[in-house]
């Protein structure tokens, strides 16, 4: 039996009066790529933002209930230190959004806010992380140039490197390729495959082909409910639920 690194039980999320997630039980297996698929507005992005409690900072009117267990603790209970949690659960967004700083400073940002000050230590982290994100060779001669001058695909790999710099266990990715061209998308997908060796990845994607290509487990969400979760091949080739089959065969969504 493989171990789950994140486990949600009866997770409910509401924005004010409007409930968007109606009790989700989901296990994320350590070392796997888990894909969340489903039509727009099904709650998959909200679910992702709940896992690192970013939702609490970005939407003050959101109320969460149920449990999310991460490394043995319920992160929804009591005064969980969200800052420390986010160090362990990194996040990459839909649009590449590097800070308007140098490439070096972008990657060093996470370690810096967590108190790393020594230049040598930061340099090591930056080199290691950029190497992990397969960006080092392309940028090693211009680390101190603005990150905004990189191409879209490079920017997104920089954002992945930035998230890896705090040495997280889990990487959350919210449609990481939807703003990129096919070649850059290919690059990011290859990268995710390689990251799997060291990290657990949870990604939201709109493209079912992408989920099928790179994920181990796929969860299908619809109207704030988890309809089906299974091994990716199983889910795509022999879905157990009618709704899942209708969605993956393009009957709705």
């Amino acid at each position: 039996m493989t171990d789950s690194i994140i486990k949600t039980e009866n997770l409910k999320v509401a924005y004010g009066e409007h409930q968007v997630i109606h009790g989700i039980d989901l296990e994320v297996i350590e070392g796997e790529v888990t894909a969340l698929i489903g039509p727009s507005g099904c709650g998959k992005s909200t679910l992702l933002q709940t896992l690192n409690l970013l939702i609490r900072s970005m939407s003050p009117n959101a109320t969460l209930s149920g449990t999310i267990t991460f490394s043995g603790k319920n992160i929804l209970k009591g005064k969980m230190d969200a800052l420390d949690l986010r160090k362990q659960i990194g996040m990459v967004f839909q649009k590449p959004n590097p800070f308007p700083k140098s490439i070096f400073e972008n990657v060093a940002y996470g370690p810096r806010v967590h108190g790393y000050k020594k230049k040598k230590q930061l340099q090591e982290i930056v080199e290691q992380t950029l190497t992990d994100a397969y960006l080092w060779d392309e940028v090693k001669d211009r680390l101190h140039e603005s990150a905004l001058e990189l191409s879209g695909g490079q920017q997104q790999r920089l954002c992945i490197a930035r998230a890896l710099a705090t040495k997280p266990d889990v990487l959350l990715m919210d449609e990481p390729t939807s703003a990129l061209d096919p070649v850059s998308t290919q690059g990011i997908e290859d990268l995710i495959q390689k990251l799997k060796e060291q990290y657990t990845v949870v990604m939201v994607t709109h493209q079912m082909e992408q989920a099928a290509r790179i994920s181990d487990t796929t969860a299908f969400l619809y109207m704030g409910q988890l309809i089906e979760v299974n091994d990716t091949t199983q889910l795509f080739f022999s879905p157990k639920r009618q709704q899942t089959e209708d969605y993956i065969t393009g009957k709705f969504g």
């Binding site: 649009k95 800070f99 806010v113 998230a163």
Partner: protein, 311 residues
């Protein structure tokens, strides 16, 4: 009798007929004429003011024979004496010090209030602070001056020193006047930043304050500088409120508590009793020209900063 539309005609037919008429009139051309003439009038007005002010302002040099160097560097102002002198340095200094000092005072408060409104308490800040600031913008400058005259001047006289009528009173009144402008424009600069900057910084485990200080503030900087400069442009042009509290002497102030004067206050105080085309009148136009040049300079600076904005 008023002709009444035939009641037998259906509404739909009437509407179709009307539409036809409209399309015949070439609305494209009508729109063009309106916007082109609006643009033309605006440009013409700006040009006319600039040309007139330049011509009048330079008259004091080539017609009244005032030495430009004396005008800019001497503090001896006595245009109506038997041996008139036209040194305007004290007023240039007054204008610049009021402008720069009030900008220095307002910058931290305005940017701080903008951060509070946009980043710390967006809902609360928008509900309470925004309307308050809009009210502050709407108060006429004479009211600020009157308040300064009845509250600030006696306060300075009793608790700090001097007569109360002082450079300091002028700076404080102008600061209050430009604070709302700077706050609103700074809040705009923060609101313009893409949300991805906030969320990705927070997602890395940064605190809200670290996010503001390390990411949002540096990114918004060109916009914040623009806000301060536009505040300065307002400060340098303000006359009425300053005139009521600054004391209006022609001597170069040696401390913040000394009375002083600015270019604008000298113009408003003297334009009524000088005859057109006299040297005394011309030199006021020269002060006006100098104000125009300074505000052109500030506008150029704003344009330069806007070009450097990333978002």
């Amino acid at each position: 009798m008023i002709p009444i539309m035939q009641t037998t005609e259906k509404a739909s037919e009437r509407l179709i007929r009307k539409n036809k008429k409209l399309s015949l009139k070439n609305p494209e051309r009508n729109g063009k004429v309106i916007v082109y003439s609006a643009a033309f009038v605006t440009i013409l007005a700006t040009l006319a003011v600039t040309i007139f002010l330049t011509q009048q302002g330079l008259q004091s040099f080539y017609m009244s024979g005032i030495n430009p160097l004396e005008f800019l560097t001497s503090t001896n102002w006595n245009p109506s004496g038997s041996n008139p002198s036209y040194g305007a340095l004290a007023f240039i200094f007054g204008s610049l010090s009021v402008t720069v000092l009030s900008a220095l005072i307002v910058a931290p408060f305005g940017i701080g209030a903008a951060i509070f409104m946009t980043e710390i308490a967006p809902s609360w800040g928008k509900k309470i602070l925004q309307p308050v600031i809009e009210i502050l913008v709407g108060i006429p400058s004479v009211v600020y001056g009157y308040l300064g005259l009845t509250v600030l001047v006696p306060f300075i006289r009793d608790h700090i020193g001097g007569s109360g009528y002082s450079l300091m009173a002028g700076v404080i009144v102008v600061s209050l006047m430009i604070l709302p402008t700077v706050t609103t424009l700074s809040a705009d600069a923060f609101n313009r930043l893409p949300n991805g900057l906030r969320s990705s910084s927070l997602a890395l485990g940064a605190t809200r304050w670290q996010t503001v200080r390390r990411v949002l503030l540096p990114t918004a900087m060109p916009g914040l500088l623009t806000a301060i400069i536009l505040g300065m442009a307002r400060a340098i042009g303000e006359a009425l409120a300053i005139q009521m509290v600054i004391g209006n002497t022609t001597i170069l102030p040696s401390s913040l508590l000394d009375p002083a004067a600015t270019m604008t206050t000298i113009i408003t105080l003297n334009m009524g009793h000088t005859t057109f085309n006299s040297a005394e009148n011309n030199v006021l136009w020269t002060l006006g020209l100098l104000l125009l040049i300074l505000s052109y300079g500030l506008v150029m600076l704003v344009r330069f900063l806007a070009a450097r904005r990333k978002f």
